[in-house]
């Protein structure tokens, strides 16, 4: 499925991810946590299907389990004592809190992976290039730092392998020497590359007043209506936040607000918000192609 959400105006993408990441970070209510986790997981799978699934299963699931298990071993607060380990109580509340914190952590990671895939560096430069030029350039460079280094180190080590100086030939000492040479090449390349980038950006007049940059983004009527829907959802969730619908006390005993009509509306708004990109994709797919 085409990611129509990523083709919307960058401002909408940015507002959406900022709101979603902040909400998943600060809402510890179980309903909100589960909604955010499911939304993040579904969208990350929709964005980069196989890799996201592998990432979730190989990295996120073990992290979630370890966090959920470790918390009650370190945190002994809570009224409901399940068992004693070395005379310190293991409590139900600590177990539940550990699980909640782990889900929160995982969903934030998932949302960050989504925003990384959607908020490409050209969008960031477009959004912040005029307000904070140097910071947005540095930010977009930093985001590309690790992937570029990885690509470049593969190129260098392949070239070294061709002339018989790879890291997997010879004695340990030779291998270490070759590895150090490769690292030195990488560092030299990185420094030179940084200077080249800076010079090139200066030559093009980046950050000068009155300079415009080329972009294909247009804020059209589609973006307008979607932005209005987004704002309505975010405001509803903020309303729920200020009326305390997401309040939960974990220690010493768990206290949750009873579910009312108002809270169901806030839950629905949060669900729509976390499924927003997928809904947009589905609606636009139907609109443009008639069917899925």
């Amino acid at each position: 499925m085409t990611d129509y959400f990523g083709r919307l105006h960058p401002a909408i993408n940015f507002i959406y991810f900022a709101a979603m990441i902040l909400f998943s970070m600060f809402f510890m209510h179980p309903v909100f946590l589960v909604i955010s986790l499911l939304g993040g997981f579904a969208y990350s799978v929709a964005l980069n299907s196989k890799r996201a699934l592998l990432f979730s299963l190989q990295f996120l699931l073990p992290v979630l389990l370890v966090m959920a298990v470790v918390n009650p071993l370190l945190n002994h607060a809570g009224r409901t004592i399940l068992l004693y380990i070395n005379d310190n109580p293991i409590t139900l509340e600590a177990c539940v809190y550990g699980l909640a914190a782990a889900v929160m952590f995982t969903s934030v990671l998932l949302w960050f992976s989504c925003s990384n895939a959607v908020m490409t560096s050209d969008k960031l430069t477009y959004l912040f290039g005029r307000i904070i030029p140097s910071l947005s350039l540095i930010f977009s460079m930093v985001l590309r730092f690790v992937p570029r280094f990885k690509a470049q180190i593969t190129v260098i080590s392949n070239a070294q392998k061709c002339i018989g100086r790879g890291v997997d030939e010879g004695s340990i000492l030779t291998r270490a020497k070759n590895g150090i040479t490769i690292l030195s090449m990488l560092t030299t390349w990185a420094l030179e590359n940084g200077i080249t980038t800076a010079d090139s950006m200066r030559a093009r007049g980046y950050g000068l007043p009155g300079r415009t940059s080329f972009h294909l983004y247009q804020f059209d009527s589609r973006d307008k209506s979607i932005l209005i829907i987004l704002f309505v959802l975010i405001l509803t969730i903020f309303f729920g936040f200020f009326t305390g619908e997401n309040n939960i006390r974990y220690f010493p005993s768990i206290i949750i607000r009873p579910v009312t009509l108002g809270s169901v509306i806030v839950y629905a708004a949060y669900f729509l918000l976390s499924a927003f990109p997928l809904l947009i994709n589905a609606v636009l797919e139907v609109k443009y192609h008639g069917s899925f």
């Binding site: 607060a77 004592i81 068992l83 004693y84 070395n86 310190n88 109580p89």
Partner: protein
């Protein structure tokens, strides 16, 4: 993966010699807050102790069960009454000894956080919601104990038997256990200098709770002190 992690944890538990046990089920008959008839007298004791505490200027420092070596110095050096008191208490127990020579060893235990209620106006209703109404968490007289039992042993046994939550950490440097919280009232949650302190017969011993060996007739008090 899941089972791997769980099994690794189990092996770790076994290797470190952790003692795993279930909370007692039968103790439901004795309520957690058993307030005996001697509540009035003990309350007086307590106020006497807290006045001692404040007069010594101890309330400002966070020393509950783990008495640091530095603080031990101040306790032993500063108040001159401390040393005679230490020598006094065996004498007192000796005087009481003929009366209960044949009886088994008993002590009394009081766990109270009424110092929070005295400073009620400083804390929010949310904070105070975890504090029991009269500040008394647990009180029991004539608790039998065995020879060599410490203040800490009695606290662990009684809190466990009465389903009162209690958390401690071992501090190997001072060779004692530090009580972080009793009944979910934790150190530092009512002011930055707050925490649990213990006293035996109205005096604060210059050692930690797991180093203080009990004598028959000892009155143990665990008091939550708010500090300044």
């Amino acid at each position: 993966m899941k089972y791997k992690i769980l099994s690794i944890l189990c092996v770790l538990c076994l290797l470190t010699g952790c003692k795993v046990e279930l909370p007692p089920q039968s103790a439901a008959s004795s309520l957690p807050q058993t307030v005996s008839s001697s509540a009035v007298s003990s309350a007086q004791d307590e106020s006497a102790l807290s006045s001692i505490v404040s007069s010594q200027g101890m309330a400002s420092s966070v020393i509950s069960s783990s008495v640091s070596s530095k603080k031990t110095d101040t306790v032993t050096s500063k108040p001159t009454s401390s040393k005679p008191a230490a020598s006094q208490s065996p004498a007192a127990s000796k005087a009481a000894a003929p009366a209960e020579q044949s009886k088994e060893r008993n002590c009394t235990l009081l766990i109270s956080c009424s110092d929070i209620l005295k400073n009620k106006d400083k804390f929010s209703a949310d904070q105070l919601s975890i504090v029991p109404e009269n500040g008394l968490i647990y009180e029991k007289s004539s608790i039998p104990f065995q020879d060599g039992d410490t203040v800490f042993d009695v606290l662990v046994r009684e809190t466990k038997a009465n389903h009162i939550q209690m958390e401690y950490v071992a501090s190997p440097v001072y060779q004692t256990n530090y009580i972080k919280g009793i009944d979910n009232i934790y150190e530092k949650s009512f002011g930055s200098n707050s925490g649990w302190m213990f006293a035996v017969n109205g005096k604060q011993p210059p050692v930690g709770s797991s180093s203080y060996k009990l004598k028959s007739g000892d009155k143990i008090q665990w008091l939550y002190v708010c500090g300044q």
